[in-house]
Structure formats: structure tokens, C-alpha cells
Amino acid sequence: MEVYHRPCDEVGFNAEEAHNVVKECVDAVLGGEDYNQNNINQWTASIVEQSLAHLVKMGKAYKYIVTCAVAQRSAYGFHTASSCFWDTTSDGTCTVRWENRTMNCIVNIFAIAIVL
């Protein structure tokens, strides 16, 4: 019986790469747009779906959870926190914050390793 090695999981989740990939997706969807009530449903859906597609293309054996919050920029307060119970050697998370003149966008990515 040969020992199967998991090449990707040995160094854990690469947050830098995920961060760059997702930032590009957000730029592509929201870049240069102004806040528009009619479109935000579609925008959040595209951001999340495109991020997921790009993350999967990285080819690592992970389950992904991608959350996106888009809010209008006004003098409001907004807090988010997350708490995770997992294996820290293989699982990881990354948060991307993006904003423009009219809106704020926060994307959270959680990646949980699949043991093959």
C-alpha cells in the first residue's frame, strides 16, 4: 500500500493568492460603478460566483465558503466578526475589503481542506 501525499495541503491555505484573485474579481464587477439598488443583487451574485470559480481553478483540494457584503457608503457603522472551529494547519481564511466613492464591499473567504 503506497502512502498518498497531499502536495497542496502541506503548506496550508495560501491567503495571499486568494486575496489577489478575489480582489481582481471585485474590481471587474464593481470597478467604476456607482451604488444602484437594482443591480446589487446581481453584483453580489457575480462577485461570489466568479471568486468561487477562480478559487476552484487554483486546483487545490479545498471546500470554499465565500461571503460578500455590499453596502452603500453613508455615515453608518458596520461590524463583522467570525469565529472558526477547524484545523489550523490546513484550513484558512482571507478577507478582502474594497471601496469606492459610493459603496463598500467586504468579501470573506473560508477554505477547509478536503482529506483525500
Binding site: 503548506v11 451574485a45 468561487l52 471546500k63 453596502a71 457603522g77 466578526a81 472558526c84 477547524w86 494547519t89
Partner: protein, 173 residues
Amino acid sequence: MAERHSRKQEAWRLEQSAESSPREPQGQNREDKASVSTVSHVDEPSPRDEASGLTVRMENTYQLGPTRHFPVATVNRILKDVLTAYLQEAEYDPEFCREMTKTVSEVIKAKVKELMIPRYKLIVTVYIGQRDGQSILIGSRCLWNPKSDTVSSYALRNSTLFALANVYAVYFE
């Protein structure tokens, strides 16, 4: 940045809080902020050896799926109880809500852990915001195995604030 790489071998709790505070509108159309991962509460961090980051190798259990599925209804009730207890009567206040988001997510995680569902990893996210007539949309997508993994969620609104709590449960095969 370095803090993101420091982990322990056993599971511990990592808390990240991202906060948007009111700012004056900027002149430019687009502004990219570098992602800052703020670790505000960590149990016993220790430097992680990147070179030998081998994970623990588990023996094959020959189990095809979870023996006990994640009880979504029970967890929904837990979320509702915790959010109502902490936030139903609360007024929005920046300092208070900053602490509350972290506290509430820890409390929810502790209560769901008490259910002792074997082999499930948990992710609890909490959003608290001021109700000021502004518009916000929060969405999520997950790439997982829908037969074993699931999500549970509860939203609470009162006169000055809104709160959303999500629990994602991922089966560890």
C-alpha cells in the same frame, strides 16, 4: 501579515474583525485598500514552522458520510436565542457593537460545540450594523458537498441596529 501564518498544531480559535467606520467621501472614483487581517483575540499563538507543515494523517474510517447530520433547526434556535438575548434591547454604539460582534460569535460557537456533533468543522460569522436608512446586501456561496454540509442563519432587527448570524457546518471526511 506575519500573524496570519502563526498557528498551532491543534485547533484553536481565530477571530477576525473587519470594521467600516464612517469616512468623508473621496475625490477619486476607485480606491483599493490593502487587505488587513486583524487578529484581535488568539489563544496561545506559536511560531509555525513553514517547512515542515505536515498535517496529521488520519486513518481511513471507511465511512461514506456523517453518522449524525447537523441539526439545522436546533442551531437556528440557538442563533435566535443568543441574538435576542444580547441584542434585542440594545442601542447601536460603535464600541459596544465592536465587542458584541466578537462576543456573540464566540458564544454561538461555544453553544454549537456543546451539541457535540462529531466530525463537523464550524464557521460562525456575525454582522452587526446601524440602521440608518442605508442599503446593504449580504450574500454567500459555498462550494462543498451538499449532502453533508449545511448552513444555518438568523437575522434580527430592532429600532437602531440589525444583526445577522450565520453558522456554516462542514463535514470533515
